[in-house]
Assembly symmetry: C2
Homo-oligomer: 335 residues x 2
């Protein structure tokens, strides 16, 4: 995919009342907009992903995949706060001429939707053939649709929700507390809070996976009393994220996830969902403990033209990234 950055020169208004000056939106594209302008596939990415969908959703998105640049104009925008090219806590705050770090404002899913709309306007896109996202990506896809400024023909919402649960917020709060327990987080330097970030990611892993998957892959023999595989695995996963992310971005993105509530500034959850006209598929993963399937069933029950499909998987929340064969099957009608 091709990497681009769009610099919006006016102040960008945030839901919390603050403004971001000099907003940069990083995005990847593949393929070209056809003359009928009806081949746009817009992807919203999950928490720590970048906008290069071919990188993290290979097997579903790629040169020869179900969603490919020969047939589609594929777009994915990096969310505000993420360190993959959009304005984020390590960017220079034009007011102080220093990086934001802990002064970065809280951004919400509604802010993400507004940023997507800015980019769509910039690219001259007035209709989307398929808007798709899982987890934080699905949260954005819902809000982007509800902005009602762009025509969304088809909508695919995976392992996501209309309002983030107290349970999900508690999981994120524990992660932020781990980051904050690392006092270097307050030293405002690029690698501040790294040990906290490592711990935070290991907490997130627990919410993305399941008892069964750890049992299958991290079992020791019966003679071990210390240095268990599961401990090494947690440390490995934490370090792996720390090598490609920073604690400030992670903290901000987790707050954005918490903010998901499509009823905020609207009538109600049910009423908001009932306004959606798109042909919608809502996909849940049977073993997801972070975004349990009750949340996707609720969405599907209240969008008029929606169907719910459950993927039977032991991968938990990560099933929406991992269960590619099933995803290809259920998403085929949306090509």
């Amino acid at each position: 995919m091709n990497f681009h950055q769009y610099n919006y020169t006016e102040p960008f208004q945030l839901e919390n009342g603050q403004q971001l000056e000099n907003l940069t939106i990083a995005y990847h594209t593949a393929g070209t907009l056809n003359p009928e302008k009806n081949n746009v596939i817009w992807v919203c990415h999950a928490l720590t992903a970048n906008s290069d969908v071919f990188d993290w959703w290979a097997g579903l998105f790629g040169e020869n995949d179900l969603f490919n640049p020969k047939d589609h104009f594929i777009i994915c925008a990096n969310v505000i706060g993420s360190n993959y090219g959009s304005t984020n806590p390590l960017s220079i705050n034009p007011i102080t001429n220093q990086p934001y770090y802990n002064d970065f404002p809280v951004v919400t899913i509604k802010d993400y939707a507004n940023a997507h709309q800015l980019l769509a306007d910039h690219l001259g896109i007035e209709s989307i053939h398929l808007l798709i996202g899982g987890s934080l990506g699905g949260q954005q896809a819902l809000e982007f649709t509800l902005l009602n400024k762009i025509k969304v023909d088809n909508l695919a919402l995976l392992a996501t929700n209309a309002v983030h649960s107290p349970w999900g917020i508690a999981f994120n709060e524990s992660q932020r507390l781990a980051i904050e327990a690392d006092a270097t987080f307050y030293e405002n330097k690029p690698d501040g809070g790294t040990n906290g970030l490592i711990a935070a990611r290991t907490i997130a892993m627990l919410s993305y996976r399941t008892y069964e998957i750890y049992e299958e892959s991290q079992k020791d023999d019966n003679q071990v009393y210390d240095y268990f595989k599961a401990s090494s695995y947690q440390k490995y996963q934490g370090q792996k994220l720390a090598n490609r992310f920073n604690a400030y971005s992670y903290w901000i993105l987790s707050k954005a996830m918490d903010s998901q509530n499509i009823a905020r500034s609207r009538k109600s959850l049910v009423d908001s969902l009932s306004q959606i006209k798109s042909n919608t598929i809502v996909i849940g993963v049977s073993s997801d403990i972070l975004f349990p399937t009750t949340e996707q069933k609720f969405i599907a029950a209240h969008i008029p033209n929606a169907k719910y499909v459950e993927i039977d998987s032991i991968f938990g929340h990560d099933g929406f990234l991992v269960e590619l064969e099933e995803l290809n099957r259920v998403l085929k009608p949306f090509v």
Copy 2:
């Protein structure tokens, strides 16, 4: 209950090869040993509890409860490493004349069983009418029974396992990583690692409770975009533990839980369970995600004289402490 401390003057051999000098075992008792010496109820406590069972299991244990000092001689010993009176990381290491802090040796559930046996010998107890414990307490009860030095007539194992799962170890590892992210943990002072401990406890809460309980008790109205109840609740629970515990003890106790494997130094899990002669009840909580009911069903399936009872509850792992009405009902035959 009455508080006691037993000072064992010989070196106490640990499973990892090290020795503890001057082992102190703190314990509570209530009631008196009857002349027939057949009224002992021995309780093993869970991770952060003390040995005052009337304090944390009121409604099941107390002056007028199912298990009471009129009928029973109730004993509970504080585990090694815990800061409720037994030798722990804040105790003075007689070799250095300084507190152990991070130099405290890794202790295992087998070490706990040996310490219980020392105390039983000290008290002249040769048979136990009922040995009971939940979670880490159930792990100890299994190992204590398998020492086979004391006659255990009845055994009640609640929300526990015969081998700690990779999932459970991963949950504990995330908690230790949160503690270690707080650099004050390495400063070896009584309140070292407090912010990490706060984060760790909030992670544990997620494993003790359920999505449903958070949904029921921590739901905000639809207009909130920050400062959610679930965030406050996590912080409150973390601080509450930090007020009564220390990071060094917590770290050591979590390692002890990880060590649970009754097959270690024995033939196999199944063979070990098949050796148990006690009349056994194994109790699971339907919504427990930390010690799922498959683990208790496994135990019950392989102890010859065991039955499995499931408590239907949305409280998750904490159900073994909270569902007192059900516990009274199912434990009544063991009075």
